[in-house]
Amino acid sequence: MSTPTTPQPPARPRLGVFKLASCDGCQLTLLDCEDELLCIAAELEIAHFPEASSEPAPGPYDLVLVEGSVSTPEHLERIRRIRADARHLVTIGACATAGGVQALRNYADVEGYLATVYARPEYIETLAASTPISAHVAVDFELRGCPIDRGQLVEVITAFLAGRKPAIPNHSVCFSCKRRGNVCVTVAHGTPCLGPVTHAGCGALCPTYGRGCYGCFGPAGTTNLPALVPLMQRDGMSEEDIGRFLHTFNVTAFTAVEEQGQPGTTDAEGPG
C-alpha cells in the first residue's frame, strides 16, 4: 500500500468529478471523506471538481466520477465528451446509475410537470425522460446509493489506484442486517422493508433505526419480488402503497425488476 506521504510521484493519476441532474450529495461525499481527503489528494491530482475548486483543468482524466442523470439535450452532448476524456468512468449514485428520483417523470406527462413548476414552460429545456449514464455511454463501474456510501467511494478510488476491481458486493441489505446483528423489522415487528430486494452498501441503516429499508441503493444482484410483495400486503400495504414504496430514488431499476417478476417469467431468482 502506498502511504499519503509518498515523495513526489512522477505523475499522479488525474481525477475528474462531473455533475448532471442531481442534488450534489454524492460528490459532497468526497468532501465528507474528512479523514481520507488529503491522502486522496496526495495520490490523485484532482483536476476537475468544480464544486470544490475554481481551476478546472481539461482532460484527459484517468478516473472520472459522474453524478447525476441525463435529463436535458445538453447532457446528451456533455456525457459523450466526458466519456471521450475518461480512461475509467464510474457513475456515483442513484441518479447517474438509475436516473434518480427525477426519473419519476418518465412515468408521467412532462408537459404537465413543466406547467406545474414553471409558469412559462417554454423557457425550460428538458428531455421527456431522466436516464442513467449507461443508457448513453459505456460505464466501467456503477456505484449505487442515494446517496453513495463514503466507505464504498473510498473503496472504488482505492481499487482504481491499485488497478483492481472494487470489492462491492451486490447482495441484499438482509446480509448487512445479519452482520450488524439487527433484529429483522419485518419478522419481529411487521414493518414493511425493501431490504430483501435492495442492494447492500449502506450498512443496513434503516433497519438499524427501526425503520424498513426504502430501497435507496436500488435492486440487489438477485431479487425475489414476487415473494416479498405478499409479505408487504400482509403488513397492511395496498397495491398502491407498494407501488409508491418501490417508485422513489431508483424508480427505473425497480420498475425493471417488477416487469421481470411478472407471473410467467422466472429470471428474477438465481444463485447469489
Binding site: 442534488c23 450529495g25 435529463s71 404537465g112 410537470y113 423557457y123 433505526y209 435507496c216 409508491r244
Partner: protein, 454 residues
C-alpha cells in the same frame, strides 16, 4: 474605438466554481457601465413539486431531501413542519430538541464546509481547499475536524450525513439514548475550541467594502436564535420603513416567485422589493438572541453588537456580504454550544414520534437552512395524499440580491480599472460565493458571459 453603432463583445468563463450547482453569469456593459447582471441558473429541472402530487403525506421529508445534498436536514425539517401544520400536530419537548440538535449538526457541517473549503480560498488567494492545505494546513485540518463533528451529530441522529434516514413526520423513527449521545459531547467540546479558532482566523481576513441593497428576511422565534421554526420577519433596506413580520401562512402573498427566461430557478421578491435571506439576515433579526459566548465571539470578530431587537434598537446590522463569513463562523460556534446544551438536558422521550393522522388541509413550514429561509407548503386530501406542493428555497429568494451585488461590485471594479476578464471573473465568483448559494436547490456554476457595447 470610434464605431458609433453598439458593438457587442462577448467574454465567456466556463462554469463558476466552488458553488453548489451550475450557474453562468451574463453581464452587459455599456460605455463602462454595467447595465445588466444576470445569474443564469442552468441546473436542470427536476420537477419535485410535480411528482410530489399523489404521494403520501409521510413521504415529502425523504423525497424533498433529495433536492439538496448540502442541506438535506433543512428540507426534511421544513417538510415535516409543513405537514404537521396541515395535520394540526405540534411536535414539542424532547422531540423538538432533538430536531434542533440534528439541525445544529447540519449548520456546523455545512457552514464549516463553506467557510473553510469554498469561501476562505477567496480571501487567501487560493483556488481551492487543496491549495489552501498547502499554505494553511492547520486551518484546513481544523475545518475538516469541525465539519466531521457536525457530520457526526447528523450521522448519530439521522443514520448518515447526507439524506438522513431517521427523520419522519412527528419526530424520529428511533430516539437515541442519553448514553448514545455522550460520545458526541466530547467531540463537541473540542469543536467549541475549533469554532473559536475559526472565528479568530476569519476575523483576520481582509474585507472589501460592499453593501447589499436588499431587505433582510429571517425567521424570528421568541427567546431563541431561530433555526428550526419561527415567524418571517423583515428588516427593510429603506430606513424609513419599520421592521415587520407576517404569519407564515401568508408567505406566498409576501414572497412572490416569478420565472425569468435565463434561469431554471424561480426568482422571488418580497413585497415587491429585492430581499436577502441567510446569515446576514439572521444576524440582523435574531442576533440579540445568540448566547453570551457567541456574542462575545461576534465582538471579537469585529461584528460589534447586533440590533437589540429584531432589526431595530441599538446595535449594528451587517450588510457587507464579504463579512457574512464572520456571521457563519459565529453561528457555528453557537450551534456547537446549542448542541452541547441540548445533549446535557436530554431525556429520552417515551415515544420517538408523535402520531400525525392525515386530514384534508394545507400546511406551511419554514426553517433556517444554512443559506437562508426555506419554505414548504403542502395541500393534502382526506387520505393524506399530497394534492399540491410549493417549495421556496433560499437561493431562489437571494438571486435578485446576488445579481444586484454583482452589478455593484463589477461596476466598482470597472471604476477602479479592473476590467480584464480574469479580474471580473474572480470578482463575480466572490460576489456569488459570499451568499453560499445552493444552486441545486434553486432549480450549478459560473460561466461568465460579458457583453460590452460602446
Amino acid at each position: 474605438m470610434s464605431d458609433p453603432t453598439p458593438r457587442a463583445q462577448e467574454l465567456r468563463i466556463p462554469s463558476l466554481a466552488r458553488v453548489e450547482g451550475e450557474t453562468a453569469l451574463y453581464l452587459r456593459i455599456h460605455h463602462g457601465t454595467v447595465v445588466e447582471a444576470r445569474l443564469k441558473i442552468y441546473e436542470p429541472p427536476r420537477f419535485f413539486e410535480a411528482f410530489l402530487r399523489g404521494r403520501a403525506h409521510t413521504e415529502p421529508p425523504d423525497l424533498t431531501s433529495r433536492i439538496c445534498g448540502i442541506c438535506p436536514v433543512a428540507y426534511q425539517m421544513s417538510a415535516c413542519r409543513a405537514i404537521e401544520d396541515a395535520c394540526g400536530v405540534v411536535v414539542d419537548g424532547q422531540l423538538a430538541a432533538l430536531r434542533r440538535l440534528l439541525y445544529c449538526g447540519e449548520w456546523i457541517e455545512s457552514q464549516t464546509l463553506h467557510i473553510h473549503m469554498l469561501h476562505a480560498p477567496d480571501f487567501l488567494g487560493e483556488d481551492d481547499v487543496i491549495g489552501l492545505s498547502r499554505s494553511h494546513l492547520e486551518h484546513v485540518k481544523r475545518g475538516l475536524r469541525l465539519k466531521q463533528t457536525g457530520n457526526a451529530v447528523v450521522e448519530l441522529l439521522g443514520g448518515r450525513a447526507i439524506h438522513p434516514v431517521n427523520v419522519r413526520i412527528g419526530g424520529f423513527h428511533r430516539a437515541p439514548t442519553r448514553a448514545e449521545l455522550r460520545p458526541l459531547e466530547e467531540r463537541l467540546r473540542t469543536a467549541l475550541d475549533d469554532a473559536w479558532d475559526t472565528v479568530r482566523w476569519v476575523a483576520g481576513f481582509e474585507f472589501p467594502d460592499a453593501e447589499c441593497e436588499a431587505d433582510l428576511l429571517a425567521l424570528a422565534e421568541p427567546g431563541t436564535y431561530a433555526i428550526e421554526s419561527g415567524v418571517p420577519t423583515v428588516l427593510p433596506y429603506d430606513a424609513a420603513l419599520p421592521p415587520y413580520s407576517f404569519p407564515l401562512r401568508d408567505f406566498t402573498d409576501h414572497v412572490a416567485e416569478e420565472q425569468v427566461s435565463h434561469s431554471t430557478a424561480l426568482h422571488s421578491r418580497l413585497d415587491g422589493r429585492r430581499h436577502l435571506t441567510g446569515a446576514l439576515a439572521r444576524w440582523a433579526v435574531s442576533g440579540h438572541l445568540l448566547s453570551p459566548l457567541a456574542l462575545q465571539a461576534a465582538r471579537e470578530a469585529g461584528l460589534g453588537d447586533p440590533p437589540s431587537q429584531a432589526g431595530a434598537g441599538r446595535g449594528e446590522v451587517c450588510r457587507n456580504p464579504y463579512r457574512s463569513i464572520l456571521v457563519r463562523a459565529v453561528e457555528v460556534l453557537y450551534a456547537v454550544q446549542e448542541a452541547l446544551r441540548i445533549i446535557s438536558e436530554y431525556e429520552r422521550p417515551a415515544h420517538p414520534y408523535a402520531e400525525v393522522p392525515a386530514r384534508a388541509a394545507t400546511g406551511h413550514g419554514a426553517t433556517e437552512a444554512p443559506r437562508g429561509l426555506l419554505y414548504h407548503r403542502y395541500a393534502l386530501d382526506g387520505r393524506g395524499r399530497v394534492t399540491d406542493a410549493r417549495i421556496v428555497p433560499p437561493t431562489a429568494q437571494n438571486q435578485g440580491a446576488i445579481e444586484e451585488d454583482l452589478r455593484r461590485l463589477v461596476q466598482a471594479g470597472l471604476d477602479r480599472g479592473e476590467g480584464s476578464e480574469t479580474e471580473l471573473t474572480r470578482l463575480c465568483e466572490r460576489a456569488v460565493r459570499n451568499h453560499d448559494p445552493c444552486i441545486s436547490c434553486s432549480a450549478h456554476f459560473l460561466e461568465l458571459d460579458i457583453e460590452r457595447t460602446r
